[in-house]
Subunit: 394 residues, 2 copies
Amino acid sequence: MKRRSVLASLAASAAGGRAAAQEARQLGAGRRAYGGRSPEVHATRFFGDSPTPGTGASRTPLQDTVGVITPSSLHFERHHSGVPRIEAARHELLVHGLAGRSVAFSMEDLRRLPSVSRVHFIECAGNSGREHAGNPGETAQKSHGLVSGSEWTGVRLSTLLRIAGVQGQAQWVVAEGADAARHSRSIPIAKAMDDVIVAYAQNGEPVRPEQGYPLRLVVPGWEGNVHVKWLHRLQLTAGPAMSRDEAASYTDLMPDGRAWQFSFEMDVKSVILRPSGGHALSGPGFHEISGIAWSGRGRVKRVDVSVDGGRTWQPAALQPPVLDRSLTRFTLPWAWDGRDTWIMSRATDETGDEQPTRDRIVAMRGTRPGPDGFNHYNGIKAWHVTSGGQVTHV
Amino acid sequence: MKRRSVLASLAASAAGGRAAAQEARQLGAGRRAYGGRSPEVHATRFFGDSPTPGTGASRTPLQDTVGVITPSSLHFERHHSGVPRIEAARHELLVHGLAGRSVAFSMEDLRRLPSVSRVHFIECAGNSGREHAGNPGETAQKSHGLVSGSEWTGVRLSTLLRIAGVQGQAQWVVAEGADAARHSRSIPIAKAMDDVIVAYAQNGEPVRPEQGYPLRLVVPGWEGNVHVKWLHRLQLTAGPAMSRDEAASYTDLMPDGRAWQFSFEMDVKSVILRPSGGHALSGPGFHEISGIAWSGRGRVKRVDVSVDGGRTWQPAALQPPVLDRSLTRFTLPWAWDGRDTWIMSRATDETGDEQPTRDRIVAMRGTRPGPDGFNHYNGIKAWHVTSGGQVTHV
């Protein structure tokens, strides 16, 4: 849209003068030591009932979020054996194996060391599995809610490994959590020495319990389960541990029966969040389309949006900051003519990877989503806008 | 420090093997719709007792924060008549005065419009007034806790003014809040059309009540009180309103008795947060020095740190992202020799402005802090590290 027509449409949309003004007439509430949301705000993580609540997931209400930082209280969860209660004062991180020497770091040791803060997304390998299976979620929360963005702060893993010393034959680092499942994943030494963070803080405060308090591994761009929570052990090894979590779970079953293993990087992906399933457009006229894009391989380079079911595409604006392996917010001005249509987004990252259609993914990988099939679904997502303004899944 | 000596110092510092390992032996806690902090984490905003709790301030526990995003629950507060309870569904923002027409925007209208997200600091004009007066705060929270950083999301003010239309003689915009005090400030039209945001969200969720729910003006780089909370009215005018908040309060009394008015921009400033007053170093050896710097005039260009009471200075590293009028995190590796010393930081912004000493400020402005004297204190802050490792204010 040209600026003139956007403004004309905006002016037509702003209705004005509906409700009586609200003005306080008396002294309001006082200060609080630790603030909370307005009682009018109700966005919550979604999860179904389960007889084993510790093994499930909860999903971020993406359709209610803005920007690229997910409120910590709404960051998605994925537990294999619940959230353990760990005392930071007694917690230690042991680095051992093919090291120069074994070192146990207390939390106080870690806080003394050189720190980094980085904004990164974490996405569960199984996110959007229902899309893959052809049983899509009704809302962005249900279809894509296993991705969230945070500012993570901690120590570079490379710093800890250099302190312990890395023997020549050490090619992998096995990271283990202190949860009852001892969730563990193996990471190639090249990645470990590159950009991995042993994070003690998220969005400016200590990592939340369900995100790994007091310590979480943050492995930029890689699937969520490698970001080991409640981290208490790092073992330098010659080969991968072939732990249950990387041998039985979190492999990708191909149509020919073979499993694709160590598919760490999350592919380029995007989803429109506003409007999205469950929203209702108040009428024709101007509506901003807004969504998020991300890639495990680097920065998002561009996002194209179609408002006519994929017939034509327009480049969306990327809101700064556009950061490496971070959620990136895109927007497109849209003057809706009131007619039934489909809207969708397609992201491209700085390596040139482009988000594929579901058809292309199904042709390559079949239709069984993980854990007994394929994870890493990143197909283009469409929402149906009906002539009445209802937005539904496709 | 050279890399070799840092690592040697780190290795010496990591003690290892103190406490018994903690490992969960049973299923942990389940998922939660809206998460919270670990019960072990106790950082809170600070405020003293007051017979009029709505008129005071609460301060961010800066010494416990990391990165550049302040948790919304810990963002500083400053109220003139308490936190009004406002229903978003009934809230309207009226744009009127020297406009083409009056327009009342509902929250739904605003959410349809083109949005922006920006990371910015907000600092109260009176922050560090005690430093100015020569009665410094014992902790970073008490000395500098009226500054916080957030990702703000909303509509550009210029978009709203363009929709309403701006008459040629309109040179100011008067922004008024719906609190009982009707807090109001006048903003020159050039700033209003530049980068001001009418924000409905903070850190990914609706603006918190004490930050202006449902609507706050965000005026990048300018003193906190111009970021009008509970925003309900914007009046285009030929001159400033000379409201109580800009005529009686928030002016800067000079030594000669004249008041300096409309001192909007916050000057370049920094403070070391770790270690800072109230911290105790566990012993000689490696300790990272970490702090925040910011400027109302643009990006922070450099921060120099002295660990010998100002005799010598070393450039600190700036952690990316280094954003325009955002808190910027700086760090410096430090091998403490265990001796009594003073540590301090000095920031320079991209316009070349350098943080002054307190002596220079006092020579220029006298020693009376606002509201009956001078706001905008930005002097270099020193912390005293005793040979026992106690860190105290100077």
